[in-house]
């Protein structure tokens, strides 16, 4: 378990993210179908499929790999997820840029930047039944661990656990933002699609960065 992750090795990270989305395509659409329009998995898989094509078999630094994902999602997939995950990955990429290694504090900056970017863009916060219910507690758990001096893998583990809990928390929430917010009480009892894909993505980061 390495305490840092070399920026040069972006390819395995990008592939890990692509894999988790492809594996869960149907599941994510099914969740979105319950209170949304059932296309979340389709949208995400289409975007990450394009990333896969554009990556081809070339090696890529982590910062550029995340930038490639961000630009691709932003310009190609549309929906809510284009701007949201586009912003998410572009912000992470900017913070990773020029850093030979990603250590615990740097990844913390990356998460913080992603969180702020989405807060500005969508105006959602914890309790609105969106991706933010996964991202905000995950970022805060990570930050707390780092402040206690935890090494990268440990902090990532805390982040992944918080993400999972945050995702699960959306089950009991009434949507306040996005398509599902029109349903009021009827949106309670099912997971939020974006919160679910967010948890999958953060877990994939945790696994691959601490491998």
């Amino acid at each position: 378990m390495a305490a840092t992750y070399p920026n040069a090795q972006g390819r395995p990270v990008v592939l890990a993210l692509i894999e988790t989305i492809e594996k869960n395509k149907a599941y994510l659409s099914e969740i979105d179908g319950k209170i949304g329009d059932g296309d979340h998995g389709i949208n995400m898989a289409k975007g990450f499929g394009l990333v896969k094509d554009r990556l081809g078999d070339k090696e890529i630094p982590l910062s550029e790999g995340l930038g490639l994902i961000g630009k691709t999602l932003m310009t190609e997939i549309g929906g809510s997820m284009g701007p949201i995950y586009g912003t998410f990955f572009i912000q992470m990429s900017l913070k990773a840029k020029g850093k030979p290694e990603t250590d615990a504090p740097i990844f913390g900056e990356m998460l913080q930047a992603a969180r702020s970017g989405l807060e500005d863009l969508g105006g959602a916060t914890v309790g609105d039944k969106t991706i933010m219910d996964t991202l905000i507690p995950a970022q805060e758990a990570y930050q707390a661990a780092v402040e206690k001096g935890a090494p990268l893998p440990t902090a990532l583990k805390q982040m992944a656990e918080a993400a999972e809990q945050g995702k699960e928390s959306t089950r009991d929430l009434v949507a306040k933002i996005g398509r599902a917010s029109r349903l009021g009480e009827r949106s309670r009892g099912v997971l939020d699609a974006g919160a679910t894909s967010g948890a999958l993505i953060l877990q994939a980061f945790a696994d691959v960065l601490s491998a």
Partner: protein, 335 residues
């Protein structure tokens, strides 16, 4: 899935190919972006460019409203998913005649965010973009939360009005003002009888029990405000008017434009049966129908169901609604 497709993940690309081949002379693709459909004569120098966009699967919306005295360009998204910011931006450029862009679209999280980013990209290139966000669906949020309401079939009337105003030489502010007035005075509601299937998904992502109907259903199958047993055409029309009329409110002496659209698979014959009752109810309420549109104007793939839309009109709106127009979704000659 009894559907006529090739690769279910490429239905939008394949559809656009056919659309461009079918309507040469009326619409054109743009080099910059295969997801933009522009009016063949656009950009028209000195005219405000009217642009809309949204997810696919709503034919004739959105590309069916590109044409003469209607929209200059449309940003085309995946089935039921907002176009990306890039597509909206490229649509703005395709429609830009130097007098600014009126982006008239519907209130959905994805569209809001993508248009927001596209506006910034346009600003960088000195293209002024102003927006009107349609929110005519009374079933999608309470009356005191209009900012949460969806845009549905009322968008068609917003485009007709905005497109006409721009064609008559209106300034950007004038086009925006009249399009906003149009949507402010428009109310809609939909009733769904069957679900629909996104080809890439392969099966319906929601269900409606046979013998029941979903009142207030959204154009993407978003659940409605109530599920009831399937009612008669007359009862459905009554229910729709009961929701729409008090919301604006529409009152005796008002003149309205009525639009009754199918959701895709409901025979048009049935739309007329329901319209007949709605018309009688309006008449009884002292409301005069200036013009009626009945047909498939804003659909949801092969969903069965119907939407009712009323727009309260004044002389200005009547003049703009009555202006001749030509597109694949809406063509009318001068009265």
């Amino acid at each position: 899935m009894q559907r006529i497709v090739n690769d279910p993940n490429r239905v939008v690309e394949d559809m656009l190919q056919g659309f461009f081949k079918a309507h040469r002379g009326l619409v054109e693709p743009v080099e910059a972006n295969p997801r933009v459909v522009k009016y063949a004569k656009a950009p028209i120098a000195g005219k405000v460019g009217v642009v809309t966009g949204g997810g696919s699967g709503h034919k004739p919306a959105f590309v069916g409203y590109v044409g003469r005295n209607l929209c200059d360009a449309v940003a085309v998204g995946e089935v039921f998913s907002s176009p990306s910011a890039q597509v909206f931006f490229d649509a703005f450029k395709a429609a830009d005649g130097g007098a600014g862009i009126a982006c008239l679209y519907g209130n959905y999280a994805g569209d809001n965010m993508n248009v927001k980013m596209a506006k910034q990209l346009a600003a960088l290139e000195g293209i002024e973009v102003k927006t009107v966000v349609a929110n005519d669906d009374v079933a999608s949020a309470p009356r005191d939360e209009p900012q949460k309401r969806r845009g549905v079939a009322g968008e068609v009337l917003m485009w007709k009005v905005g497109g006409a105003k721009a064609a008559l030489g209106g300034s950007l502010d004038e086009v925006i003002a009249v399009a906003q007035k149009a949507i402010n005075q428009t109310r809609s509601i939909g009733v769904g009888l069957t679900p629909c299937t996104i080809p890439a998904a392969g099966k319906p992502n929601f269900s409606i029990e046979p013998g029941t109907m979903e009142v207030g259903i959204g154009h993407h199958g978003e659940p409605g405000v109530l599920v009831s047993k399937l009612k008669t055409a007359d009862e459905i029309a009554q229910l729709a008017m009961d929701h729409i009329l008090p919301d604006l409110p529409f009152a005796a002496g008002d003149e309205v434009v009525a639009l009754v659209s199918g959701l895709g698979a409901t025979p048009v014959m049935e739309l007329y049966i329901a319209f007949s009752k709605a018309y009688d109810l309006l008449k009884a309420a002292g409301i005069h129908v200036h013009r009626s549109y009945v047909g498939n104007y804003f659909t949801s793939l092969e969903m069965m169901g119907i939407t009712f839309t009323l727009m309260k009109v004044d002389d200005e709106l009547k003049r703009l609604i009555d202006l001749e127009a030509e597109s694949t979704g809406l063509s009318q000659l001068a009265p």
